[in-house]
Amino acid sequence: MEALKMSEREVSEKKRKKRSISLYQAVWRWHFYAGLIFSPFLLILAFSGGVYLFKPQIENVLYQDLYFVEEGATALAVTAQTAGVLESYPDASVTSVSFYDDPARTTEVGILQNGEAASVYVNPYNGAVLGEIQSGERFTDIFVSIHSELLIGGTAANLLVELAACWAVILLITGLYMWWPRKRSAIWGTVLPRLRSKGRTFWRDMHAVPAFWLSLGILILILTGLPWSGVMGEQINRLATSTNTGYPAFAQSFGEKPESQILAKDIASDVPWASENLPVPSSVDNGYVPISVDDAVGVASQQNIAKPYTISMPQGEAGVYTLATSHSNPSDSATLHLDQYTGSILSDVRFQDYGIMAQGITLGIALHEGRLFGLANQILGLIVCIGLIFVILSSYVMWKKRKPKGRYGAPAKPKDKKITRVVFFIMLALGVLMPLVGISIIVMYLLDRFVIPRIRPLRKQLFEGGGANE
């Protein structure tokens, strides 16, 4: 009786162990192939992101002659500053004016000249025009272009970045599964590396231990980066809209704008004519002209708009002055639209007016860009970027050490076909959450099923090569 029970337990234990090995192998295969394909992209993202984090410091040094002047006593009127710009650029039109909180910073005047946008920097104390930077030609613009669209640009590149970011989530999940301590007391090789061991164990620890420590940071950077992405970003927007927790209308300076009321209409029908003494407006050309940018600046200070902010000039007859904070503390976020003829506030949306999701997204973006809590935020971001590069490089070394010459050294297919299938469906489910992942899995599956079997040598290398090794 007793012996039978023991052996029953032994058998089930053995079964469980076999299963767990199969599961490990299946997860490892996913981790291996995903890493092989997407780590180059993740390297690019970590590098470009790490540089871009320090955009303010880098630009302050590179463009110090344009950005900084000796602080004077009183600043000139903004119209006087823009007039100076138009004197230097007679064919240009002013599109925007930006103000910074450092009193030694120059005023940045956005101009459009022969269809080309540029920023012109003006000393606010004497009106001297210091120079220009063509839009998109800042040093850091290169890095933002690499980071968001791999320098090639276009939707395809943007989707590729999103695909890599989403696969990074899968790499994190599968990696954490493999990292998970099998024995409860195992500190070495999990939270601390086995520094004294050599070869593969050492490099495995150099990969898995820092990756564990960085996993939360990496996940946060991926999640806070997703609102920019084409597919997931759209889903996030839809979720915010459907739950009424997104951005209110007119919340963003680049979005839809209200319209200025053109006072050319027949006033008599709109206004209560209480007074007989009022003269009747005589001409169709009513004589109203847009208010000056100085008046818009006046509204900005009256409404406690925190610097740095940008005033965009009205576009067309029904256009509006748009006052929007830029790259400041998210809680100072404000976007105001002013009627260009009266300066009255058509809409005023602050951070507090955002829905809870929009607030979260705004905070997340600031965190991602390293401007939520100053230098500490930038340094934390940098640590994650450098750590990610290290983890990718160590994984490469660890693979090299395992890989037989001339073969890919992929982990073997698990013996238990059922486990393979279960893991496949979990991945597919994650693919539903992250549509690009789902599509790529289906494409890979179809390739694996129908194309690769027809190319025998490749199949040998990719899928049977590493089998004997583990």
């Binding site: 889903q235 839809r238 979720l239 007119f250 002209v289 409404q303 260009q340 809409s347 005023d348």
Partner: protein, 149 residues
């Protein structure tokens, strides 16, 4: 176990793609409407009365905090400020006299609570010089960046 995870993720995805319109309401400022009325023919060296008509939410604004009227000549130059007097509910007037003929601008600065309105109107005293005529022609162009594409 894995089936449950799959079901949960699926449910999450359906939730994500669920679509219904709606966004937080925008807080719009109370509309303050200000109209400036000019005397029909303004000539130099005669006192002229300018009238400002103010409504808030379609009602005549009886007690604006203060209504100032600013007048300046051409594009540059010093501006002159007048305090407008209320002649009746919603109607404010100020008197000004011009020594020089030319192109002028008048701006009414109206505020009520933390809402303000400050329309600008151009007008001529006497005859315009050719230069001023040209400047007036250019006026919309200067503020209209949309047409430069």
């Amino acid at each position: 176990m894995s089936k449950r995870i799959a079901a949960l993720t699926l449910a999450g995805a359906v939730f994500l793609s669920g679509c219904a319109a709606g966004n937080p309401e925008v807080r719009l400022a109370e509309p303050l409407e200000t109209y400036i009325y000019l005397p029909e023919n303004i000539s130099a060296n005669t006192p002229e009365t300018f009238t400002v008509h103010v409504t808030e939410n379609g009602e005549l604004l009886e007690s604006a905090d203060d209504i100032m009227i600013e007048v300046w000549q051409g594009t540059a130059g010093e501006s002159e400020w007048f305090e407008a007097q209320s002649s009746e509910a919603g109607v404010y007037t100020a008197e000004a006299e011009f020594t020089e003929e030319g192109l002028y601008y008048i701006q009414a600065h109206v505020s009520s609570g933390d809402v303000s309105s400050m329309p600008v109107k151009s007008f001529t005293v006497g005859e315009l010089t050719e230069e001023e005529e040209a400047a007036l022609e250019e006026e919309p162009e200067e503020h209209d960046d949309g047409h430069h594409h």
